[in-house]
Protein backbone atom coordinates (compact mmCIF):
# COMPACT_ATOMS: atom_id res chain seq x y z
CA UNK A 1 0.00 0.00 0.00
CA UNK A 2 1.66 3.21 -1.09
CA UNK A 3 0.65 6.70 -0.19
CA UNK A 4 -0.85 8.69 -3.09
CA UNK A 5 1.63 11.09 -4.65
CA UNK A 6 1.00 14.65 -3.58
CA UNK A 7 0.68 17.18 -6.38
CA UNK A 8 3.49 19.77 -6.67
CA UNK A 9 2.16 23.04 -5.40
CA UNK A 10 4.96 25.24 -6.61
CA UNK A 11 6.04 25.68 -3.04
CA UNK A 12 9.59 26.19 -2.04
CA UNK A 13 8.78 25.06 1.48
CA UNK A 14 9.43 21.68 2.97
CA UNK A 15 6.13 19.84 3.12
CA UNK A 16 7.01 18.35 6.49
CA UNK A 17 7.22 21.72 8.20
CA UNK A 18 3.77 23.09 8.70
CA UNK A 19 4.95 26.43 10.04
CA UNK A 20 7.39 26.98 7.23
CA UNK A 21 6.83 29.79 4.77
CA UNK A 22 6.86 29.79 1.02
CA UNK A 23 8.31 32.40 -1.24
CA UNK A 24 7.70 33.44 -4.78
CA UNK A 25 10.42 32.19 -7.10
CA UNK A 26 11.02 35.71 -8.30
CA UNK A 27 11.60 36.88 -4.74
CA UNK A 28 13.97 34.00 -4.11
CA UNK A 29 16.08 35.03 -7.08
CA UNK A 30 15.82 38.79 -6.90
CA UNK A 31 16.21 39.41 -3.16
CA UNK A 32 19.69 37.87 -2.93
CA UNK A 33 20.77 39.58 -6.16
CA UNK A 34 19.58 42.96 -4.92
CA UNK A 35 21.34 42.38 -1.60
CA UNK A 36 24.61 41.57 -3.35
CA UNK A 37 24.20 44.55 -5.66
CA UNK A 38 23.50 46.97 -2.80
CA UNK A 39 26.43 45.58 -0.87
CA UNK A 40 28.79 46.09 -3.80
CA UNK A 41 27.39 49.47 -4.79
CA UNK A 42 27.08 51.17 -1.42
CA UNK A 43 30.53 50.20 -0.23
CA UNK A 44 31.97 52.00 -3.24
CA UNK A 45 30.43 55.21 -1.90
CA UNK A 46 30.93 54.61 1.79
CA UNK A 47 33.62 52.12 2.55
CA UNK A 48 32.65 51.69 6.19
CA UNK A 49 29.36 50.12 5.11
CA UNK A 50 31.36 47.02 4.27
CA UNK A 51 30.91 46.11 7.91
CA UNK A 52 27.34 45.17 7.02
CA UNK A 53 26.78 41.82 5.38
CA UNK A 54 23.43 42.01 3.60
CA UNK A 55 23.85 38.71 1.74
CA UNK A 56 24.40 36.89 5.04
CA UNK A 57 21.25 38.47 6.46
CA UNK A 58 19.31 37.26 3.43
CA UNK A 59 20.68 33.74 3.87
CA UNK A 60 19.59 33.72 7.51
CA UNK A 61 16.19 35.15 6.64
CA UNK A 62 15.37 32.52 4.04
CA UNK A 63 16.83 29.73 6.14
CA UNK A 64 14.83 30.47 9.29
CA UNK A 65 11.67 31.15 7.33
CA UNK A 66 11.76 27.97 5.27
CA UNK A 67 13.14 25.80 8.04
CA UNK A 68 14.68 23.33 5.66
CA UNK A 69 18.39 22.63 6.23
CA UNK A 70 18.97 21.38 2.69
CA UNK A 71 17.51 24.42 1.00
CA UNK A 72 19.30 26.58 3.58
CA UNK A 73 22.61 24.98 2.61
CA UNK A 74 22.00 25.39 -1.09
CA UNK A 75 20.79 28.97 -0.76
CA UNK A 76 23.81 29.84 1.39
CA UNK A 77 26.19 28.22 -1.06
CA UNK A 78 24.76 30.05 -4.07
CA UNK A 79 24.68 33.46 -2.41
CA UNK A 80 28.14 32.96 -0.96
CA UNK A 81 29.61 31.92 -4.29
CA UNK A 82 28.11 34.99 -5.96
CA UNK A 83 29.71 37.14 -3.29
CA UNK A 84 33.00 35.37 -3.89
CA UNK A 85 32.74 35.99 -7.61
CA UNK A 86 32.91 39.75 -7.04
CA UNK A 87 35.98 39.44 -4.83
CA UNK A 88 39.51 40.14 -5.91
CA UNK A 89 42.58 37.97 -6.31
CA UNK A 90 42.93 37.68 -2.53
CA UNK A 91 39.54 36.11 -2.41
CA UNK A 92 39.32 32.64 -3.97
CA UNK A 93 35.86 31.48 -4.94
CA UNK A 94 34.45 29.40 -2.13
CA UNK A 95 35.39 31.37 0.98
CA UNK A 96 32.01 33.01 1.39
CA UNK A 97 30.43 29.94 -0.19
CA UNK A 98 31.58 27.68 2.64
CA UNK A 99 30.77 30.29 5.27
CA UNK A 100 27.25 30.96 4.05
CA UNK A 101 26.58 27.25 3.57
CA UNK A 102 27.34 26.67 7.24
CA UNK A 103 25.25 29.67 8.26
CA UNK A 104 22.34 28.54 6.08
CA UNK A 105 22.41 25.09 7.60
CA UNK A 106 22.65 26.34 11.19
CA UNK A 107 19.95 28.97 10.72
CA UNK A 108 17.48 26.56 9.20
CA UNK A 109 18.20 23.97 11.89
CA UNK A 110 17.64 26.62 14.52
CA UNK A 111 14.49 27.84 12.82
CA UNK A 112 12.90 24.43 13.31
CA UNK A 113 13.33 24.60 17.07
CA UNK A 114 12.72 28.20 18.13
CA UNK A 115 10.41 31.04 17.27
CA UNK A 116 12.19 33.43 14.99
CA UNK A 117 9.38 35.89 14.36
CA UNK A 118 10.15 37.99 17.36
CA UNK A 119 12.40 41.05 16.76
CA UNK A 120 14.36 40.31 19.92
CA UNK A 121 15.08 36.77 18.79
CA UNK A 122 16.02 38.02 15.36
CA UNK A 123 18.43 40.51 16.88
CA UNK A 124 20.07 37.76 18.91
CA UNK A 125 20.37 35.19 16.15
CA UNK A 126 21.86 37.69 13.72
CA UNK A 127 24.30 38.82 16.38
CA UNK A 128 25.38 35.25 17.01
CA UNK A 129 25.41 34.24 13.35
CA UNK A 130 27.56 37.22 12.41
CA UNK A 131 30.15 36.15 14.95
CA UNK A 132 29.96 32.56 13.67
CA UNK A 133 30.18 33.85 10.08
CA UNK A 134 33.31 35.81 10.84
CA UNK A 135 34.78 32.86 12.72
CA UNK A 136 34.18 30.41 9.88
CA UNK A 137 35.51 32.91 7.33
CA UNK A 138 38.62 33.44 9.42
CA UNK A 139 39.00 29.67 9.81
CA UNK A 140 38.76 29.09 6.07
CA UNK A 141 41.09 31.97 5.18
CA UNK A 142 43.65 31.40 7.86
CA UNK A 143 43.39 27.65 8.28
CA UNK A 144 42.88 26.44 4.74
CA UNK A 145 44.45 29.19 2.67
CA UNK A 146 47.07 30.58 5.06
CA UNK A 147 45.91 34.11 4.46
CA UNK A 148 47.11 36.83 6.81
CA UNK A 149 43.70 37.78 8.18
CA UNK A 150 43.40 39.78 11.35
CA UNK A 151 40.94 38.93 14.07
CA UNK A 152 39.64 41.66 16.31
CA UNK A 153 36.98 40.87 18.90
CA UNK A 154 35.96 44.51 19.19
CA UNK A 155 35.54 44.83 15.45
CA UNK A 156 33.49 41.63 15.31
CA UNK A 157 31.34 42.76 18.22
CA UNK A 158 30.63 46.13 16.65
CA UNK A 159 29.94 44.49 13.30
CA UNK A 160 27.56 42.01 14.91
CA UNK A 161 25.70 44.81 16.63
CA UNK A 162 25.36 46.85 13.44
CA UNK A 163 24.22 43.83 11.45
CA UNK A 164 21.73 42.80 14.11
CA UNK A 165 20.14 46.26 14.19
CA UNK A 166 19.87 46.46 10.41
CA UNK A 167 18.60 42.88 10.20
CA UNK A 168 15.65 43.58 12.49
CA UNK A 169 14.36 46.20 10.05
CA UNK A 170 15.35 44.25 6.98
CA UNK A 171 13.52 41.13 8.16
CA UNK A 172 10.37 43.15 8.78
CA UNK A 173 10.58 44.40 5.23
CA UNK A 174 11.22 40.95 3.81
CA UNK A 175 8.32 39.48 5.81
CA UNK A 176 6.04 40.95 3.15
CA UNK A 177 7.30 38.42 0.65
CA UNK A 178 6.31 35.48 2.83
CA UNK A 179 3.50 33.25 1.67
CA UNK A 180 1.72 30.63 3.76
Amino acid sequence: MTAPAMPFRGSYTSREQVAAYEFNWLAIILIPLVAIFIQAFLTAKLRWLAILDLPMMVVVFFAVARRNPISGCIMGAIIGLLQDALGGPAHPIGMYGITDTVIGYMASSLGVKIDVENPGTRFLIIYVFFVVHQGVYYGVGHGLLRQSLQWSWSHVAIGALANAVVAVFLFQMLDRFKQR
Binding site: T43, W48, Y137, Q147
Partner: protein, 440 residues
Protein backbone atom coordinates in the same frame (compact mmCIF):
# COMPACT_ATOMS: atom_id res chain seq x y z
CA UNK B 1 20.87 1.82 4.82
CA UNK B 2 17.89 3.87 3.67
CA UNK B 3 17.14 4.74 7.26
CA UNK B 4 20.65 6.00 7.89
CA UNK B 5 20.63 8.08 4.72
CA UNK B 6 17.21 9.45 5.55
CA UNK B 7 18.17 10.21 9.10
CA UNK B 8 21.36 12.04 8.24
CA UNK B 9 20.20 13.42 4.93
CA UNK B 10 20.70 17.04 5.95
CA UNK B 11 24.16 16.47 7.31
CA UNK B 12 25.18 14.47 4.26
CA UNK B 13 24.03 17.27 1.95
CA UNK B 14 25.87 19.83 4.07
CA UNK B 15 29.04 17.75 4.01
CA UNK B 16 28.77 17.22 0.27
CA UNK B 17 28.35 20.95 -0.47
CA UNK B 18 31.19 21.89 1.84
CA UNK B 19 33.43 19.19 0.40
CA UNK B 20 32.80 20.39 -3.14
CA UNK B 21 33.67 23.95 -2.21
CA UNK B 22 36.80 22.95 -0.33
CA UNK B 23 37.94 21.00 -3.38
CA UNK B 24 37.22 24.08 -5.52
CA UNK B 25 39.30 26.20 -3.15
CA UNK B 26 42.15 23.71 -3.27
CA UNK B 27 42.11 23.70 -7.06
CA UNK B 28 42.29 27.51 -7.15
CA UNK B 29 45.17 27.62 -4.70
CA UNK B 30 47.02 24.86 -6.52
CA UNK B 31 46.50 26.31 -9.98
CA UNK B 32 46.00 30.05 -9.88
CA UNK B 33 44.65 31.61 -13.03
CA UNK B 34 47.10 32.89 -15.58
CA UNK B 35 47.38 36.61 -16.05
CA UNK B 36 44.31 38.00 -17.72
CA UNK B 37 42.37 34.78 -17.29
CA UNK B 38 39.15 35.01 -15.29
CA UNK B 39 37.04 32.31 -13.69
CA UNK B 40 33.77 31.77 -15.47
CA UNK B 41 31.76 32.39 -12.33
CA UNK B 42 33.43 35.77 -11.93
CA UNK B 43 32.60 36.65 -15.53
CA UNK B 44 28.95 35.84 -14.93
CA UNK B 45 28.78 37.73 -11.66
CA UNK B 46 30.54 40.77 -13.09
CA UNK B 47 28.35 40.68 -16.20
CA UNK B 48 25.26 40.57 -14.00
CA UNK B 49 26.22 43.28 -11.54
CA UNK B 50 28.29 45.87 -13.38
CA UNK B 51 25.70 46.95 -15.99
CA UNK B 52 23.25 47.78 -13.23
CA UNK B 53 25.94 49.60 -11.28
CA UNK B 54 26.94 51.52 -14.39
CA UNK B 55 23.35 52.56 -14.99
CA UNK B 56 22.89 53.72 -11.41
CA UNK B 57 26.19 55.62 -11.31
CA UNK B 58 25.61 57.33 -14.63
CA UNK B 59 22.08 58.29 -13.63
CA UNK B 60 23.42 59.70 -10.39
CA UNK B 61 26.05 61.69 -12.26
CA UNK B 62 23.50 63.00 -14.72
CA UNK B 63 21.30 64.21 -11.88
CA UNK B 64 24.28 65.76 -10.13
CA UNK B 65 25.33 67.58 -13.30
CA UNK B 66 21.86 68.98 -13.67
CA UNK B 67 21.84 70.11 -10.09
CA UNK B 68 25.22 71.76 -10.31
CA UNK B 69 24.47 73.23 -13.74
CA UNK B 70 21.22 74.96 -12.93
CA UNK B 71 20.63 75.26 -9.26
CA UNK B 72 24.12 75.63 -7.97
CA UNK B 73 24.93 78.81 -9.88
CA UNK B 74 24.40 81.12 -6.93
CA UNK B 75 27.97 80.93 -5.75
CA UNK B 76 29.52 81.15 -9.20
CA UNK B 77 30.26 84.88 -9.10
CA UNK B 78 32.10 84.65 -5.82
CA UNK B 79 33.93 81.57 -6.97
CA UNK B 80 34.86 83.32 -10.20
CA UNK B 81 36.48 86.14 -8.28
CA UNK B 82 38.38 83.67 -6.16
CA UNK B 83 39.60 81.89 -9.24
CA UNK B 84 40.82 85.16 -10.78
CA UNK B 85 42.84 85.84 -7.65
CA UNK B 86 44.15 82.33 -7.75
CA UNK B 87 45.23 82.71 -11.38
CA UNK B 88 47.08 85.92 -10.61
CA UNK B 89 48.93 84.25 -7.78
CA UNK B 90 49.74 81.21 -9.86
CA UNK B 91 51.09 83.29 -12.73
CA UNK B 92 53.72 84.66 -10.41
CA UNK B 93 54.55 81.21 -9.21
CA UNK B 94 54.67 79.91 -12.74
CA UNK B 95 57.52 82.24 -13.64
CA UNK B 96 59.65 80.79 -10.90
CA UNK B 97 58.66 77.23 -11.63
CA UNK B 98 59.31 77.53 -15.34
CA UNK B 99 62.86 78.62 -14.59
CA UNK B 100 63.31 75.64 -12.33
CA UNK B 101 61.78 73.35 -14.92
CA UNK B 102 64.05 74.66 -17.64
CA UNK B 103 67.09 74.03 -15.51
CA UNK B 104 65.88 70.57 -14.58
CA UNK B 105 65.27 69.65 -18.19
CA UNK B 106 68.71 70.86 -19.14
CA UNK B 107 70.30 68.78 -16.41
CA UNK B 108 68.31 65.73 -17.41
CA UNK B 109 69.47 66.14 -20.97
CA UNK B 110 73.04 66.49 -19.90
CA UNK B 111 72.83 63.28 -17.94
CA UNK B 112 70.96 61.44 -20.68
CA UNK B 113 68.25 60.84 -18.14
CA UNK B 114 65.18 59.28 -19.63
CA UNK B 115 62.07 60.36 -17.87
CA UNK B 116 58.83 58.45 -17.77
CA UNK B 117 55.90 60.40 -19.04
CA UNK B 118 52.26 59.51 -18.66
CA UNK B 119 51.42 59.60 -22.31
CA UNK B 120 47.73 58.81 -22.31
CA UNK B 121 45.03 58.09 -19.78
CA UNK B 122 41.40 57.07 -19.74
CA UNK B 123 38.98 58.61 -17.29
CA UNK B 124 36.85 55.99 -15.57
CA UNK B 125 34.09 55.93 -13.03
CA UNK B 126 34.19 53.73 -9.94
CA UNK B 127 30.97 51.75 -10.04
CA UNK B 128 31.36 49.20 -7.28
CA UNK B 129 33.48 47.13 -4.95
CA UNK B 130 33.70 43.52 -3.91
CA UNK B 131 31.38 44.40 -1.06
CA UNK B 132 33.42 42.59 1.57
CA UNK B 133 35.74 43.93 4.21
CA UNK B 134 38.55 41.56 3.40
CA UNK B 135 38.79 42.18 -0.34
CA UNK B 136 39.12 45.83 -1.24
CA UNK B 137 38.96 45.58 -5.02
CA UNK B 138 37.08 48.21 -7.01
CA UNK B 139 35.21 48.02 -10.27
CA UNK B 140 35.45 50.73 -12.91
CA UNK B 141 33.22 51.30 -15.90
CA UNK B 142 35.96 50.94 -18.52
CA UNK B 143 37.14 47.60 -19.81
CA UNK B 144 38.95 45.91 -22.66
CA UNK B 145 36.65 47.62 -25.17
CA UNK B 146 38.17 50.93 -24.04
CA UNK B 147 41.75 49.71 -24.20
CA UNK B 148 42.18 48.83 -20.55
CA UNK B 149 44.59 45.96 -19.90
CA UNK B 150 45.85 44.17 -16.79
CA UNK B 151 48.71 45.81 -14.88
CA UNK B 152 47.86 49.32 -15.97
CA UNK B 153 48.24 51.97 -13.29
CA UNK B 154 45.17 53.67 -11.87
CA UNK B 155 45.66 57.14 -10.44
CA UNK B 156 43.88 60.28 -9.35
CA UNK B 157 45.20 63.84 -9.34
CA UNK B 158 45.81 63.50 -5.61
CA UNK B 159 47.69 60.21 -5.69
CA UNK B 160 47.91 56.68 -6.95
CA UNK B 161 45.01 54.28 -6.50
CA UNK B 162 46.10 50.83 -7.64
CA UNK B 163 46.48 48.67 -10.69
CA UNK B 164 44.18 46.79 -13.03
CA UNK B 165 44.03 43.08 -12.24
CA UNK B 166 41.16 41.71 -14.28
CA UNK B 167 39.46 43.08 -17.33
CA UNK B 168 36.14 42.26 -18.90
CA UNK B 169 34.72 43.94 -22.00
CA UNK B 170 32.79 46.67 -20.19
CA UNK B 171 34.47 46.87 -16.81
CA UNK B 172 37.72 46.23 -15.01
CA UNK B 173 38.77 45.23 -11.54
CA UNK B 174 41.24 47.47 -9.72
CA UNK B 175 43.47 46.22 -6.93
CA UNK B 176 43.94 49.26 -4.67
CA UNK B 177 47.21 49.92 -2.89
CA UNK B 178 45.67 49.13 0.49
CA UNK B 179 44.66 45.60 -0.49
CA UNK B 180 46.66 42.89 1.22
CA UNK B 181 47.92 41.55 -2.12
CA UNK B 182 49.11 44.92 -3.36
CA UNK B 183 52.75 45.98 -3.58
CA UNK B 184 54.05 49.27 -4.96
CA UNK B 185 57.62 50.46 -5.41
CA UNK B 186 57.78 53.63 -3.32
CA UNK B 187 60.35 56.07 -2.03
CA UNK B 188 60.51 58.84 0.53
CA UNK B 189 60.59 62.11 -1.37
CA UNK B 190 63.23 63.91 0.65
CA UNK B 191 65.62 61.16 1.67
CA UNK B 192 65.04 59.06 -1.49
CA UNK B 193 64.96 55.90 0.60
CA UNK B 194 63.22 53.18 -1.37
CA UNK B 195 60.91 50.48 -0.11
CA UNK B 196 57.78 48.59 -0.96
CA UNK B 197 54.36 49.88 -0.04
CA UNK B 198 52.13 47.01 0.99
CA UNK B 199 48.51 46.83 2.01
CA UNK B 200 47.03 44.84 4.85
CA UNK B 201 43.76 43.02 5.43
CA UNK B 202 42.56 45.86 7.64
CA UNK B 203 43.10 48.43 4.88
CA UNK B 204 46.24 50.09 6.19
CA UNK B 205 49.32 50.66 4.06
CA UNK B 206 52.90 50.28 5.26
CA UNK B 207 56.19 51.12 3.65
CA UNK B 208 58.47 48.15 4.18
CA UNK B 209 62.12 47.22 3.75
CA UNK B 210 63.61 50.47 5.00
CA UNK B 211 66.42 49.87 7.46
CA UNK B 212 65.71 50.77 11.06
CA UNK B 213 68.74 53.07 11.32
CA UNK B 214 67.38 55.40 8.66
CA UNK B 215 65.88 58.66 9.87
CA UNK B 216 62.24 58.69 8.83
CA UNK B 217 59.81 61.16 10.33
CA UNK B 218 56.03 61.35 10.30
CA UNK B 219 54.79 63.78 7.69
CA UNK B 220 57.33 62.85 5.05
CA UNK B 221 55.94 62.54 1.56
CA UNK B 222 56.02 59.16 -0.17
CA UNK B 223 56.19 58.95 -3.94
CA UNK B 224 56.41 56.13 -6.46
CA UNK B 225 59.92 54.95 -7.22
CA UNK B 226 59.12 53.43 -10.61
CA UNK B 227 60.70 50.16 -9.52
CA UNK B 228 57.54 48.14 -10.02
CA UNK B 229 57.36 49.02 -13.73
CA UNK B 230 53.67 49.83 -13.30
CA UNK B 231 53.55 53.30 -11.80
CA UNK B 232 55.66 56.04 -13.37
CA UNK B 233 58.28 57.48 -11.07
CA UNK B 234 57.42 60.46 -8.93
CA UNK B 235 53.67 60.11 -8.48
CA UNK B 236 52.32 61.02 -5.10
CA UNK B 237 51.53 58.03 -2.88
CA UNK B 238 50.87 59.47 0.55
CA UNK B 239 52.44 60.73 3.74
CA UNK B 240 54.12 58.94 6.59
CA UNK B 241 51.76 58.69 9.54
CA UNK B 242 53.89 56.79 12.04
CA UNK B 243 57.25 55.09 12.26
CA UNK B 244 57.89 52.09 14.49
CA UNK B 245 60.61 49.52 14.67
CA UNK B 246 59.53 46.42 12.80
CA UNK B 247 60.86 42.93 12.22
CA UNK B 248 64.32 42.01 10.99
CA UNK B 249 66.01 45.40 11.30
CA UNK B 250 63.41 47.11 9.15
CA UNK B 251 61.15 49.99 10.05
CA UNK B 252 57.40 49.64 10.09
CA UNK B 253 56.27 52.85 8.41
CA UNK B 254 52.55 53.43 8.21
CA UNK B 255 51.53 55.56 5.25
CA UNK B 256 48.26 57.39 4.72
CA UNK B 257 47.42 57.30 1.00
CA UNK B 258 46.92 60.69 -0.63
CA UNK B 259 44.02 59.45 -2.71
CA UNK B 260 40.82 58.90 -0.76
CA UNK B 261 40.60 55.20 -1.42
CA UNK B 262 37.40 54.86 0.56
CA UNK B 263 35.56 57.50 -1.44
CA UNK B 264 36.72 57.23 -5.00
CA UNK B 265 34.47 58.35 -7.79
CA UNK B 266 36.57 59.20 -10.85
CA UNK B 267 39.96 57.73 -11.60
CA UNK B 268 42.45 57.78 -14.47
CA UNK B 269 43.77 54.60 -16.02
CA UNK B 270 47.27 55.13 -17.40
CA UNK B 271 47.14 53.39 -20.75
CA UNK B 272 50.54 54.45 -22.05
CA UNK B 273 53.79 55.40 -20.41
CA UNK B 274 56.58 56.69 -22.59
CA UNK B 275 60.23 56.94 -21.76
CA UNK B 276 61.93 59.83 -23.50
CA UNK B 277 64.45 62.55 -23.04
CA UNK B 278 63.11 65.92 -22.03
CA UNK B 279 62.38 68.30 -24.86
CA UNK B 280 65.23 70.78 -25.04
CA UNK B 281 64.49 72.52 -28.30
CA UNK B 282 63.79 75.79 -26.63
CA UNK B 283 66.68 75.60 -24.19
CA UNK B 284 69.44 76.66 -26.57
CA UNK B 285 72.77 74.95 -27.17
CA UNK B 286 74.40 72.98 -24.39
CA UNK B 287 77.90 74.03 -23.50
CA UNK B 288 80.68 71.68 -22.54
CA UNK B 289 81.11 73.65 -19.35
CA UNK B 290 77.52 72.88 -18.43
CA UNK B 291 78.20 69.20 -18.78
CA UNK B 292 81.35 69.39 -16.72
CA UNK B 293 79.77 71.50 -14.06
CA UNK B 294 77.06 68.91 -13.60
CA UNK B 295 79.49 66.02 -13.43
CA UNK B 296 81.85 67.45 -10.91
CA UNK B 297 81.29 67.58 -7.20
CA UNK B 298 79.60 70.61 -5.82
CA UNK B 299 81.36 73.39 -4.01
CA UNK B 300 80.16 75.27 -0.95
CA UNK B 301 80.08 79.00 -1.54
CA UNK B 302 82.62 79.74 1.20
CA UNK B 303 85.29 77.66 -0.49
CA UNK B 304 84.93 79.20 -3.89
CA UNK B 305 87.70 81.70 -3.49
CA UNK B 306 90.26 79.24 -2.15
CA UNK B 307 89.37 76.70 -4.73
CA UNK B 308 89.89 79.10 -7.55
CA UNK B 309 93.31 80.05 -6.25
CA UNK B 310 94.48 76.52 -5.80
CA UNK B 311 93.47 75.24 -9.13
CA UNK B 312 94.21 78.03 -11.49
CA UNK B 313 97.47 76.50 -12.56
CA UNK B 314 96.29 72.95 -12.38
CA UNK B 315 93.77 73.24 -15.08
CA UNK B 316 94.85 76.34 -16.84
CA UNK B 317 94.17 76.27 -20.49
CA UNK B 318 91.33 73.88 -20.13
CA UNK B 319 88.49 74.67 -22.39
CA UNK B 320 86.15 73.75 -19.64
CA UNK B 321 87.19 76.62 -17.50
CA UNK B 322 84.90 78.56 -15.24
CA UNK B 323 82.58 76.29 -13.38
CA UNK B 324 84.58 73.15 -13.91
CA UNK B 325 87.76 74.76 -12.68
CA UNK B 326 86.31 75.80 -9.44
CA UNK B 327 84.74 72.45 -8.94
CA UNK B 328 87.93 70.59 -9.59
CA UNK B 329 89.78 72.92 -7.32
CA UNK B 330 87.27 72.35 -4.64
CA UNK B 331 87.83 68.67 -4.81
CA UNK B 332 91.56 69.09 -4.54
CA UNK B 333 91.41 71.55 -1.69
CA UNK B 334 88.96 69.59 0.37
CA UNK B 335 90.60 67.60 3.11
CA UNK B 336 90.75 63.99 2.22
CA UNK B 337 89.37 64.35 -1.22
CA UNK B 338 92.42 65.23 -3.15
CA UNK B 339 93.10 61.76 -4.34
CA UNK B 340 89.53 60.79 -4.82
CA UNK B 341 88.06 63.77 -6.49
CA UNK B 342 86.29 63.03 -9.67
CA UNK B 343 88.01 64.69 -12.57
CA UNK B 344 86.15 65.97 -15.54
CA UNK B 345 85.68 64.04 -18.72
CA UNK B 346 89.00 62.63 -19.90
CA UNK B 347 89.06 64.27 -23.25
CA UNK B 348 88.24 67.59 -21.83
CA UNK B 349 91.10 67.72 -19.36
CA UNK B 350 93.22 64.86 -20.44
CA UNK B 351 96.37 66.43 -19.18
CA UNK B 352 95.05 66.26 -15.69
CA UNK B 353 93.28 63.03 -15.78
CA UNK B 354 96.07 60.91 -17.10
CA UNK B 355 98.79 62.55 -15.11
CA UNK B 356 99.60 61.83 -11.53
CA UNK B 357 99.12 64.68 -9.14
CA UNK B 358 102.31 66.32 -8.04
CA UNK B 359 103.54 65.68 -4.56
CA UNK B 360 106.18 67.64 -2.71
CA UNK B 361 109.52 65.98 -2.17
CA UNK B 362 109.60 63.72 0.74
CA UNK B 363 105.95 63.19 0.92
CA UNK B 364 104.62 59.71 0.52
CA UNK B 365 102.12 58.81 -2.14
CA UNK B 366 98.54 59.53 -1.50
CA UNK B 367 96.37 56.77 -0.18
CA UNK B 368 92.96 56.62 -1.72
CA UNK B 369 90.12 56.92 0.71
CA UNK B 370 87.29 54.85 -0.63
CA UNK B 371 84.76 56.19 1.78
CA UNK B 372 85.31 59.67 0.52
CA UNK B 373 85.26 58.89 -3.12
CA UNK B 374 83.26 61.42 -4.98
CA UNK B 375 79.78 60.21 -5.63
CA UNK B 376 78.40 60.33 -9.14
CA UNK B 377 76.86 63.64 -9.91
CA UNK B 378 73.73 61.91 -11.04
CA UNK B 379 72.42 59.16 -13.24
CA UNK B 380 74.23 56.43 -15.06
CA UNK B 381 76.37 58.78 -17.03
CA UNK B 382 78.64 59.75 -14.17
CA UNK B 383 82.15 58.45 -14.48
CA UNK B 384 83.74 56.21 -11.89
CA UNK B 385 87.17 57.48 -11.06
CA UNK B 386 90.01 55.72 -9.32
CA UNK B 387 92.55 57.91 -7.60
CA UNK B 388 95.97 58.09 -9.14
CA UNK B 389 99.09 57.57 -7.11
CA UNK B 390 101.07 60.72 -6.53
CA UNK B 391 104.60 60.93 -7.77
CA UNK B 392 106.97 63.54 -9.09
CA UNK B 393 108.22 66.77 -7.71
CA UNK B 394 107.19 70.31 -7.22
CA UNK B 395 108.32 71.19 -10.69
CA UNK B 396 105.09 69.89 -11.90
CA UNK B 397 106.58 67.14 -13.97
CA UNK B 398 104.05 64.42 -14.30
CA UNK B 399 104.46 60.85 -15.21
CA UNK B 400 101.82 59.22 -17.19
CA UNK B 401 100.58 55.95 -15.80
CA UNK B 402 98.07 53.45 -17.03
CA UNK B 403 94.59 54.86 -17.03
CA UNK B 404 93.73 56.01 -13.59
CA UNK B 405 90.12 56.61 -14.35
CA UNK B 406 87.30 55.22 -16.32
CA UNK B 407 85.73 57.44 -18.91
CA UNK B 408 82.11 58.25 -18.51
CA UNK B 409 79.80 55.55 -19.76
CA UNK B 410 77.73 57.85 -21.89
CA UNK B 411 79.64 61.03 -22.37
CA UNK B 412 77.65 63.46 -24.44
CA UNK B 413 79.08 64.37 -27.79
CA UNK B 414 79.88 67.88 -26.66
CA UNK B 415 82.62 66.70 -24.36
CA UNK B 416 84.58 65.22 -27.24
CA UNK B 417 85.04 68.62 -28.74
CA UNK B 418 86.92 70.05 -25.81
CA UNK B 419 90.61 70.37 -26.64
CA UNK B 420 92.97 68.37 -24.41
CA UNK B 421 95.49 71.06 -23.80
CA UNK B 422 96.20 70.79 -20.14
CA UNK B 423 99.66 70.20 -18.80
CA UNK B 424 100.02 69.87 -15.12
CA UNK B 425 102.06 72.78 -13.89
CA UNK B 426 100.36 73.31 -10.66
CA UNK B 427 102.19 73.99 -7.45
CA UNK B 428 102.50 70.96 -5.23
CA UNK B 429 99.53 70.25 -3.14
CA UNK B 430 100.02 68.24 -0.03
CA UNK B 431 96.91 66.43 0.93
CA UNK B 432 96.11 66.08 4.59
CA UNK B 433 96.48 62.34 4.45
CA UNK B 434 99.79 62.44 2.69
CA UNK B 435 101.53 60.78 5.60
CA UNK B 436 99.63 57.58 5.24
CA UNK B 437 101.20 54.50 3.72
CA UNK B 438 100.92 53.97 0.01
CA UNK B 439 98.11 51.92 -1.39
CA UNK B 440 98.71 48.24 -2.03
Amino acid sequence: MDTILGRYKNLIVLAAILFAQIIALAVQVRRPTQEGEIRLLRVWAIAAVTPVEKAVVHTENWLRDKWEGYLYLRSVRRENQQLHDEIARMKLEQVRLSEDATMARRIQTLLAFKEQYVDSTIAAQVIGTSGSEQSRVLYIDKGSNDGVKPDMAVITPTGIVGKIVQVSPGSAQVLPINDQLSGVGAALKDSRLQGILKGASNGTTTLQYIMSDEPVKPGEVVITSGGDRIFPKGLLVGTVASVEPGKDLFLNIRVIPSARLDRLEEVLVVTKIEEKLPDTKDLGPIRASDILSERLPGLPATQDANAAGNTQGAVSGTAAAGQSNSALGAAASKPGTAGTAKPPAPNAVSGVSTAKPATPPGSVPLKPNPTQAAKPAGGAASPVVKPAQTEGSSTGTTTAKPPAQKPPATAPADTQATPPTTQSTSPPTTPPNAGEPPPQ
